[in-house]
């Protein structure tokens, strides 16, 4: 007796998956690819700061304050003789923590609201839309500034307040996504089989909606860098001796005419980070949704 062996292996798809195609498109976009590499480098710098930085961010060398670049201090020193290169490296850590943490918090608040509004429609959607309407009329950056000024400043609070004030965009986007998804056949099929709603919302629908949400998150990062560095620059954000690019800018402005490096180092850091993140975000958008490209750069 010879058993008939049946090949039970599932048929593997020969066509490349969604993310792989997106990655291929992203790779072809030179500007986006270079920006992506810069983003990775900045993130690595932030994570590995203690290993890379030549000095601690608070080590003072008062004899060499406001000095230009030298062998000891490659980018010079600030008013307390702290090494600017080290502070820029540690600054990447604080700046990136806020720049990524705040939009993440906004996503965590906004996406559930958007999902519920888009899925349930009717009364829920009505309430959500009125909420959107009201919060559109509230200038977010001023709200964040007021909260930070009133409740004090630490990295955690900066993330909290910037995050709270950035939920609106995520909620809008998630709502639009779920409205366009909720009448699809596979949702009906899932409901017919008796899949619980929360499972449909999270396991079945979220993967289809997550692409644009991730892109939005990445595109929010430069805006958050702008705001958080801006607050630190106004003297509202991160406090001494902690290093942050905006804080360094604030320290440097008083010595603009004496030592340009104190201003130029944080300026270049902020510029590099915001540019890299936005080119990278644009590239991701074009890669995931090629149709969005049509109007922007046909």
């Amino acid at each position: 007796m010879t058993a008939i062996t049946v090949d039970t292996k599932p048929i593997t798809a020969a066509t490349p998956g969604f993310w792989r195609t997106a990655w291929r498109r992203f790779r072809r976009n030179k500007l986006a690819l270079v920006s992506g590499i810069v983003v990775v480098l900045i993130l690595l710098t932030a994570i590995l700061a203690p290993l890379i930085a030549p000095q601690g961010y608070q080590v003072q060398d008062l004899a060499n304050s406001l000095a230009g670049p030298s062998r000891g201090h490659l980018l010079g020193t600030d008013r307390l003789g702290r090494d600017l290169l080290s502070r820029a490296i540690y600054g990447a850590r604080t700046s990136m923590l806020v720049a990524i943490g705040a939009p993440l918090l906004g996503a965590v608040i906004g996406i559930p609201i958007g999902i519920l509004a888009g899925w349930y429609g009717r009364a829920v959607d009505f309430v959500a839309l009125r909420l959107f309407e009201i919060f559109t009329m509230v200038p977010q950056i001023l709200v964040a500034l007021l909260l930070i000024a009133l409740f004090g400043n630490s990295v955690g609070k900066l993330i909290l307040f910037l995050g709270i004030s950035s939920w609106l965009g995520f909620a809008r986007l998630a709502r639009a996504q779920y409205i366009s998804l909720r009448n699809r056949d596979f949702v009906l099929a899932a409901q017919a089989v008796g899949v619980p709603t929360w499972r449909i919302l999270i396991i079945h629908l979220l993967p289809s909606a997550v692409g644009p949400l991730i892109i939005f998150l990445v595109q929010e990062i430069p805006a958050t860098i702008f705001a958080s560095a801006g607050f630190s620059f106004l003297g509202l954000g991160v406090q001494d001796p902690l290093a942050d690019w905006g804080k360094m800018l604030n320290d440097g402005t008083q010595y603009l005419s004496i030592d340009l490096w104190t201003v130029m180092v944080p300026t270049v850091c902020i510029a590099l980070a915001t540019l890299a993140f936005s080119f990278c975000g644009d590239g991701m958008r074009d890669a995931i949704d090629p149709s969005s490209r049509q109007s922007a750069s046909r």
Binding site: E133, P139, L150, T253, S257, T274, S278
Partner: protein, 311 residues
Amino acid sequence: MVAYLAKRFLTLICVMLVMTMVVFALMHAVPGGPFDQTQQPLPKPAMENIMRKYGLDQPIWRQYLNWLWAVLHGDFGTPFSQPTMTVTGLIAQAWPATLIIGAWTIGISYIGGVVLGCIAALKHNTWVDRILTSTVSTAGIALPNYVVGFVLITVFGVRLGWLPVGGWGQPQDVILPVVAFSLYPLALMARYTRATTLEVTYADYVRMGRARGLSERRLTFRYVLRTALIPLITIMGPNIPNILTGSIFIEATFAVPGLGSYFTTASLHRDYPLILALVLIVAALWGTCYILSDVAYTVLDPRVRLEGLSR
């Protein structure tokens, strides 16, 4: 239309009321008060006197109603930080600087942005277009305006010495802040103009016109740009309050004594009356611009109908 406008403005007034309530509650929720940060701690009786003078010894809801009542009569109170002035006077003093910078910025960025966007679209797929869109407009959108400001200060203020580093009063003080501030809206306008113009350039009716032998100039100005520029007005509207609130950083960079800098110092020093007045102004301006841009949309594009408006 009147009913629609009335409804929108009613919402706006409600939003403003709620905002002032929230801000009021927030300010009082934080421990400490506006007079804690003086150089030497005040003796207790003096402190009590001050608290009584500004009504800070009363319950919160009472304080809020008092404030609201005064505001409805046009009295915004006395700023704690400058007791010799009124809030209205202080704002009247700070307003022009912000307004001048804002007006120049709006003018330059809107006109310049539209022109650059049109050039990019009409020279589509040439090097001009590529430089304008990929580099200039993205850089303008991505770079924080205070960063641009510091680059300008270092180049034109410190190195070349052509323009003042900061300050306010002389005519040339306006130049650098406006340039730094314009870059973002300029880039945004250029990007949108290019997109809408391109959309129209490839429309069937333009091809038809070209087939029938209309001159390129006539096609461009009468057929393409006319249609392409309509949607832009809706982008311009919401941008105006953006420009006015974004000026916080520009005013700090260039040491301009405008509304933005007062907002920062008032928030820091817990100057309750000043913060509330500024919040009210900003909210009113912000909301009005949104409403007006929604209305402009319907006026310019007959396909759009306002929600709740009878056809």
